[in-house]
């Protein structure tokens, strides 16, 4: 029970030895003012700094408790001996557990790794949003792509909010019904809707919206990054995430407008205009970083196709179409999800396939 100065192993039964905490670490290097924000080296430094700081804290804490514990032992004499031992054991268990937990936490939940990607000013975000709709023609020299995650993340959440708004329109929606002769689109939508009905059975609206948006952002980014890796294009995962995230700005505007003003030709026009512009911007950025005709075709064709189809999908699948104004006004007692199916004689669908049935009937 002596108050050992630096060693932790003061108990006869051998306390919990931790090899990581040796020799009372003094953090000589202060990593806090590192300016080097290039990729992985910053992350490593950040982690090292965290670990050293943590070692310092733990060692200081341990020394403090040890001193107190040692003082107690000397004064309490005979009666306190058993209680003293018990208390020490309990303290050691607690300290060891806390150390393990904080090590695991710092390893897996260290958000400081993401800090440099959120280092933006509002002006920069605004500029990047506007630039995402302006394709740049220079494709012979790699275009600069900002590696930032704040804008893309906020855009994905905005898209989720817009989807919710579109899904849960209150009953006061007027729709001009008209016939649509685009059978190919109908077929595609039917396909998508049947898939969606299957998936939505177990889900909720919010879950579906979040799953769709995040799934698209992360999934397509990863897929295009994988293709880029295959064809040796010069783009990193962060840049891809950032590019695709900002490319969602156009679709956000389109959906916001067309969920409130239900003219199909307006949608098609905006789809081509804004969707096309944002796709062109992404495609141009990718083109500038790829060499070779076939890789360029593959990469940019895939991205363009996926992006345009995604906007189409979002519009047709998450859009409730309600007929008539008067019915809907009294229909505050009706479901927020208005799936009113007109009887279309040539299409007889049962209740489980109501979604496609509604869609077909709208045309």
């Amino acid at each position: 029970m002596s108050s050992g100065s630096g060693s932790r192993n003061t108990e006869p039964w051998g306390s919990f030895d931790d090899n990581l905490i040796q020799g009372g670490g003094s953090a000589v290097i202060d990593m806090e003012n590192m300016d080097d924000t290039s990729g992985s080296s910053f992350e490593d430094m950040g982690e090292m700094h965290q670990r050293m700081k943590e070692e310092e804290e733990v060692a200081a804490e341990a020394a403090a408790t040890e001193d107190d514990v040692a003082d107690d032992g000397e004064f309490l004499g005979m009666k306190g001996l058993k209680g003293q031992l018990g208390r020490q054991v309990a303290d050691e268990v607690w300290q060891a557990g806390k150390r393990q937990a904080s090590k695991a936490f710092n390893l897996y939940a260290n958000i400081d790794i993401l800090r440099p990607y959120f280092d933006v000013e509002p002006v920069q975000v605004r500029n990047r949003l506007i630039e995402s709709l302006i394709p740049v023609r220079m494709i012979n020299f790699p275009q600069k792509i900002a590696g930032e995650l704040y804008g893309p993340l906020m855009l994905v959440f905005t898209l989720v909010a817009i989807l919710l708004h579109g899904m849960k329109t209150s009953g006061t929606v007027i729709v001009r019904t008209h016939t649509c002769t685009h059978t190919l689109f109908m077929f595609l939508c039917l396909l998508k809707c049947s898939l969606c009905v299957y998936l939505q059975r177990e889900g909720t609206l919010m879950g579906t919206a979040i799953g769709t948006c995040f799934g698209y952002w992360l999934g397509v980014s990863a897929f295009i990054y994988f293709l880029a890796y295959l064809v040796n294009a010069q783009i990193t995962m962060l840049q891809m995430l950032s590019l695709l995230g900002y490319g969602l700005f156009g679709p956000c505007i389109v959906l916001l407008v067309t969920y409130n003003i239900h003219f199909h030709f307006l949608f098609y026009g905006l789809w081509l205009l804004l969707g096309g512009l944002s796709t062109l911007r992404m495609v141009a950025a990718l083109l500038s970083r790829t060499v070779g005709q076939t890789p360029r075709l593959l990469l940019c064709g895939t991205l363009g196709l996926l992006h345009m189809l995604f906007l189409l999908y979002l519009h047709f699948n998450y859009h409730t179409i309600v007929e008539g104004l008067l019915d809907s006004l009294e229909g505050h007692n009706m479901a927020p999800m208005q799936r009113v199916a007109r009887d279309v004689p040539e299409v007889m669908l049962n209740a489980t396939a109501r979604n496609p049935g509604m869609l077909l009937s709208a045309y």
Partner: protein, 228 residues
């Protein structure tokens, strides 16, 4: 014999602590308190349960008042607690439960959905504000965001009462007005607390996700319609 008897008793040697007369003894013999714990100042273990509950309720109520009149005060931040947010979240989720649905799968928000939205939304906003360089701590931020849901919960109660009475165009306009006002109030109240902890040029970056968060909750409240 006597020695063996003595030795057989445990701690025999220690009972014989004697101080020699020729060595002067000085100092004060007082038992040290041990590693000081914070709640040793007053022990709350022995007080009646009613006192404990009343104290916590009073603290929660005090914070509700601070949300109602959002001025620059540190009560919400300094003595944060998560009772209020839990109470509000549960109330809101219960009130939103069972929104009209003719098809079970696509009905109104379920209890778990509201819960998840509120808590994960708050966590994401907190992480965002920390990553942007905020000085507020994790639980303080959760506390502020949770307490500022109160105007929206009040709006939900009002909407439900109004919907019981009647439904129609005028009622919808009333509900829209109430929900919009409470949404603005919530956003304003929470930014009054959160924005102070950010560097001055980044306030807009922190306010926007808060705006989205309360917008989603306000939208869920507005589109709620009771089951017939």
């Amino acid at each position: 014999m006597a020695a063996s008897e003595e030795a057989s008793r445990p701690f025999a040697g220690l009972s014989d602590v004697s101080i020699a007369e020729d060595i002067p003894v000085e100092g004060d013999i007082s038992v040290p308190v041990g590693p000081s714990r914070r709640d040793d100042e007053f022990s709350t273990l022995d007080e009646p349960v009613k006192d404990t509950i009343m104290r916590d309720l009073r603290a929660v109520g005090n914070k509700f008042i601070h949300v109602l009149y959002p001025k620059r005060s540190s009560a919400l931040l300094r003595d944060w607690d998560l009772w209020g947010p839990l109470l509000l979240c549960v109330t809101l989720a219960l009130l939103l439960q069972g929104g009209a649905a003719d098809h079970e799968d696509q009905g109104g928000p379920q209890f778990a959905e509201v819960f998840v939205i509120v808590w994960f939304g708050s966590i994401i906003i907190t992480l965002n504000s920390k990553l942007l360089g905020g000085t507020i701590s994790f639980f303080q931020s959760l506390c502020v965001l949770g307490y500022c849901i109160m105007p929206l919960t009040v709006a939900m109660v009002v909407c439900r009462i109004v919907l019981v009475i009647s439904s129609g165009r005028v009622v919808f306009a009333v509900r829209l007005a109430v929900v919009t006002a409470s949404f603005g109030w919530s956003t304003f109240a929470s930014t009054a607390f959160l924005a102070d902890s950010q560097p001055p040029n980044r306030k807009a970056l922190v306010v926007y996700p808060v705006f989205l968060f309360y917008f989603v909750i306000a939208w869920m409240i507005l589109t709620y319609s009771p089951q017939q």
